[in-house]
C-alpha cells in the first residue's frame, strides 16, 4: 500500500512539473503566448476556488481545461476572460493585461458560453448584425458567420426557436464573428445530443485549422481528446496535470490494465501493480516502465490472496483513469 501511495505522489509532481516546465520554457520566446497564467489564485471568503495555477498556451494551440464540477474551471476562465479579478497572480493574453488593455483584448478574444440566452423577440439575423457592429465587423461578415455554422437559412428565426445544437452553433458564430485570435469556450457541448455535439466538434476543429487558439472547459474526456492538442487537469482549484493525452497516460503509468469487480478492498492488499478505484471496481495497471499485467497473472495473484472475483475485463486506460488515478475522483 505504502509504495503505491508514494508512486501516486511522484506521478502527480512529475505531471505538474511538466506543466511548469512548459511555462518556464516559453519565457524567452519572441511572440508572447496567447495565454500566460502565473500563480493565479481566487478566493471567495474562506473558499479557495483556484489555487496558484500557472500555465502557458501558445498561439495556435488548442487546450482543454478538464475537471469535475466545482473544480474551478469556470472561475479560472472568468479570470482569463477578465470578468473576475484574481486574488493573487496574473493573466496576460498576447502580452497584454486586462487592467491596461481591456478594449484591445476584447477585440482579440471570442467567447462562447454554456447556455447563453440571447435577446428574445429578435431574429438571429438581427442579433448577428448587432454583434457585428459591437465587434467592429461588417454586415457581410455577420452573414458569413451564420453561413459558416449552417444557420444562414434560419436567420429570421428567434434564438428561442432554435434547437439546442443550433443555439450552440449560433453562439460559436457570434464568438468568431470578428475573427478573434483566441477562442474561449465554456463547456461548449453540455446538454447537447450526440449529433449536435459532433456538429459542434466539427466546427471547433475547423476553427483550429484556421489557426485560432482555443481554450475550452469541459468535463467530457472524449471532447477534450477530440478537440485539444493538450489537456490541463484541475481539481479542487489546483492544477493536477498538464500535457498531451499520450504524455499524461505515459506519465501516469496507466498504459493498460485489468479491471476487477470485487467487494474486497484491493488497495490494501500487497499487489505488485498500481491499484486505483474504478467504476467497475478496481483498475490494476503496471508500474511505469513495466509490462501490463495480464488477466491470468492478476487472477492468479488474487486467488492466492483468497479474493472472490465477480468479473474481470482488460482495460485500455483513458483520461478519466488518469484523473481518477491522480485525484481519486471521477471527472464527470
Amino acid at each position: 500500500m505504502a509504495h503505491i501511495r508514494i508512486d501516486r505522489q511522484q506521478q502527480r509532481f512529475m505531471l505538474i512539473n511538466l506543466g511548469v516546465g512548459r511555462y518556464i520554457g516559453t519565457m524567452s520566446t519572441q511572440n508572447p503566448p496567447a495565454i500566460d497564467v502565473r500563480s493565479l489564485s481566487k478566493s471567495y471568503g474562506k473558499t479557495h476556488a483556484v489555487r496558484s495555477v500557472s500555465f502557458v498556451i501558445e498561439p495556435g494551440e488548442s487546450v482543454a481545461l478538464l475537471g469535475p464540477n466545482g473544480a474551478g474551471k469556470t472561475t479560472l476562465l472568468d479570470m482569463i476572460e477578465g470578468i473576475a479579478s484574481p486574488t493573487s497572480g496574473q493573466v496576460q493574453l498576447f502580452g497584454m493585461g486586462w487592467a491596461s488593455d481591456a478594449p484591445a483584448l476584447r477585440q482579440l478574444i471570442g467567447l462562447s458560453l454554456q447556455s447563453t440566452a440571447y435577446l428574445d423577440y429578435v431574429s438571429i439575423g438581427e442579433l448577428a448584425q448587432l454583434f457585428a457592429t459591437l465587434t467592429h465587423s461588417t454586415r457581410q461578415r455577420a452573414h458569413q458567420s451564420l453561413e459558416q455554422v449552417g444557420l444562414a437559412h434560419l436567420s429570421k428565426r428567434s434564438f428561442k426557436a432554435l434547437s439546442g445544437g443550433e443555439k450552440q452553433r449560433f453562439s460559436l458564430a457570434m464568438a468568431v464573428m470578428h475573427r478573434p485570435r483566441l477562442l474561449l469556450l465554456d463547456e461548449p457541448t453540455t446538454a447537447l445530443d450526440p449529433n449536435a455535439r459532433h456538429d459542434c466538434w466539427s466546427l471547433i476543429q475547423g476553427l483550429k485549422r484556421d489557426g485560432i487558439t482555443v481554450l475550452l472547459t469541459t468535463h467530457y474526456m472524449d471532447e477534450a481528446t477530440a478537440l485539444s492538442d493538450r489537456i490541463i487537469l484541475i481539481n479542487q482549484g489546483q492544477l493536477v496535470a498538464d500535457g498531451t493525452l499520450a504524455t499524461l497516460l505515459q506519465q501516469s503509468g496507466l498504459t493498460g490494465g485489468v479491471t476487477i469487480d470485487t467487494a474486497a478492498p484491493l488497495d490494501t492488499l500487497p499487489l505488485p501493480w498500481v491499484v486505483a478505484p474504478h467504476r467497475q471496481g478496481w483498475l490494476i495497471a503496471s508500474q511505469p516502465g513495466h509490462p501490463d499485467p495480464t488477466v491470468q497473472e492478476v487472477l492468479t495473484h488474487l486467488d492466492r490472496l483468497s479474493v472472490t472475483v465477480r468479473g474481470v475485463q482488460t482495460h485500455q486506460p483513458t483520461l478519466d483513469d488518469v484523473f481518477r488515478y491522480l485525484t481519486g475522483r471521477d471527472l464527470s
Partner: protein
C-alpha cells in the same frame, strides 16, 4: 455611436414586438385614465329638488322632482332627491340635511332667485384644469415613466444577467455606458410615445389640452426618464435574481405610486408627511407635469424640478455604473 444606435434600435424593435409589454406600457395607462376620467370628470349635474305642487320657477341648474307629503320619505330614502321644498308660497321653505352638499347648493340657488336685488355682475375667467382627468393625466404620465424605467431597465438588466447575455456582451468592446445609454434612449422613446398617446386619447375624449409650453413638457419627460433610468440602473446593477429584483423594484415604486399624488393629492396627508413626500422624485415629476398641463407656464417655471430630477438621475446612474457587474 454605431454601437449605441445598433443596440438602441434592436432594443426598440424588441420592445414593439412584445404585445404584452405594449399593452402594459401604452394601452393600459390610457385605458385607466379614460375609465377614471369618465367616472370622476362628468360635468356637474343639476340639483334635484323635491317639490310638492308646481315648481316655483325653471332653471337649468335645478331639476324639479314632483313629490307629496306621504311620498317624501320614500323618495328621499330612495335617492330621488336630498333636498325638498315643503312650502312654495308665500315664502319658500327648504328641507334637507345641512351635511349634504345639495342642501347648500339648493339654498344658494333659491336665495339667488328669491333676492329682490339682482346679483352684481360677475365676470368669470375661464381656466380649465380642475377636473379629475386634468389631475390624473400628468400623474399617469409620470407613473408610466417611472414604471417603464424601473421595469424596462432595472428588470431587463437583471434578466440579461441571469441569462448570461450581459456576460456575453462583456466579451465585446462595447462599454457599459453604451448599454445604459441605449436602454435610456429606448425608455425615453417609450415615455414620449405613452405621453403622446395619452394626450391624444384624453384630448379626443375629454378635450384635455396642454395649457403650458410643449418645450416645458418635453423637459419634464426627459428629466423624469433620466431620473428613473438612474433608479433602474441602480436596481439592476448587481442583482442576479429576478425575485430579488422584483422586490427591489416594488420597494422603490410602490410607496411613490401610493403617496406621490398620482391618483389623489398628497396634501391630504399631515403637513409634516406631505412636506417629505413633496421631495420624492415621482412627486417632483408629477407636480412639474401637472403645472405644465394645467397652467400657462414656460420652460423657466419647471427648471427647478427638472434640475432636481437630473441630479437624482446623475446620482442614480453614477452609483449604478459604479456598482454594476456583468455577471
Amino acid at each position: 455611436m454605431k454601437m449605441l444606435w445598433a443596440l438602441t434600435w434592436l432594443l426598440t424593435k424588441r420592445f414593439v414586438r412584445q404585445p404584452a409589454v405594449l399593452f402594459w406600457a401604452l394601452a393600459f395607462p390610457v385605458a385607466l385614465s379614460v375609465v377614471l376620467g369618465m367616472a370622476f370628470s362628468r360635468p356637474p349635474a343639476p340639483v334635484r329638488i323635491g317639490v310638492m305642487g308646481a315648481p316655483p320657477f325653471q332653471s337649468p341648474e335645478i331639476e324639479w322632482v314632483l313629490t307629496s307629503p306621504h311620498l317624501l320619505s320614500q323618495h328621499r330614502v330612495g335617492g330621488h332627491f336630498h333636498v325638498w321644498m315643503s312650502q312654495v308660497t308665500p315664502s319658500m321653505q327648504l328641507g334637507g340635511d345641512p351635511a349634504h352638499g345639495d342642501t347648500r347648493l339648493a339654498r344658494l340657488l333659491l336665495a339667488q332667485h328669491a333676492s329682490a336685488t339682482p346679483l352684481p355682475s360677475v365676470s368669470v375667467q375661464t381656466r380649465p384644469g380642475s377636473r379629475y382627468i386634468d389631475f390624473l393625466v400628468p400623474g399617469m404620465m409620470a407613473l408610466g415613466i417611472m414604471n417603464s424605467a424601473l421595469w424596462g431597465i432595472g428588470y431587463a438588466l437583471i434578466d440579461m444577467r441571469t441569462k448570461k447575455m450581459l456576460r456575453r456582451l462583456l466579451a465585446t468592446p462595447m462599454p457599459k455606458s453604451t448599454l445604459m445609454l441605449a436602454h435610456f434612449l429606448v425608455r425615453l422613446g417609450v415615455g414620449i410615445a405613452e405621453a403622446l398617446l395619452l394626450l391624444a386619447i384624453t384630448g379626443w375624449v375629454f378635450h384635455l389640452v396642454v395649457q403650458g409650453s410643449v418645450v416645458a413638457l418635453c423637459m419634464c419627460l426627459f428629466a423624469g426618464t433620466f431620473a428613473f433610468s438612474g433608479f433602474g440602473v441602480m436596481v439592476g446593477s448587481r442583482t442576479d435574481s429576478s425575485v430579488v429584483g422584483n422586490g427591489l423594484i416594488n420597494a422603490v415604486s410602490l410607496p411613490m405610486t401610493i403617496c406621490s399624488g398620482v391618483f389623489f393629492t398628497y396634501r391630504s396627508f399631515p403637513t409634516v408627511v406631505a412636506n417629505c413626500i413633496e421631495w420624492l422624485p415621482l412627486t417632483v415629476l408629477v407636480d412639474a407635469l401637472r403645472l405644465v398641463m394645467t397652467e400657462p407656464v414656460g420652460p423657466g417655471d419647471v427648471m427647478v424640478p427638472c434640475m432636481v430630477l437630473m441630479a437624482v438621475g446623475l446620482i442614480g446612474h453614477g452609483l449604478g455604473l459604479k456598482w454594476f457587474k456583468w455577471h
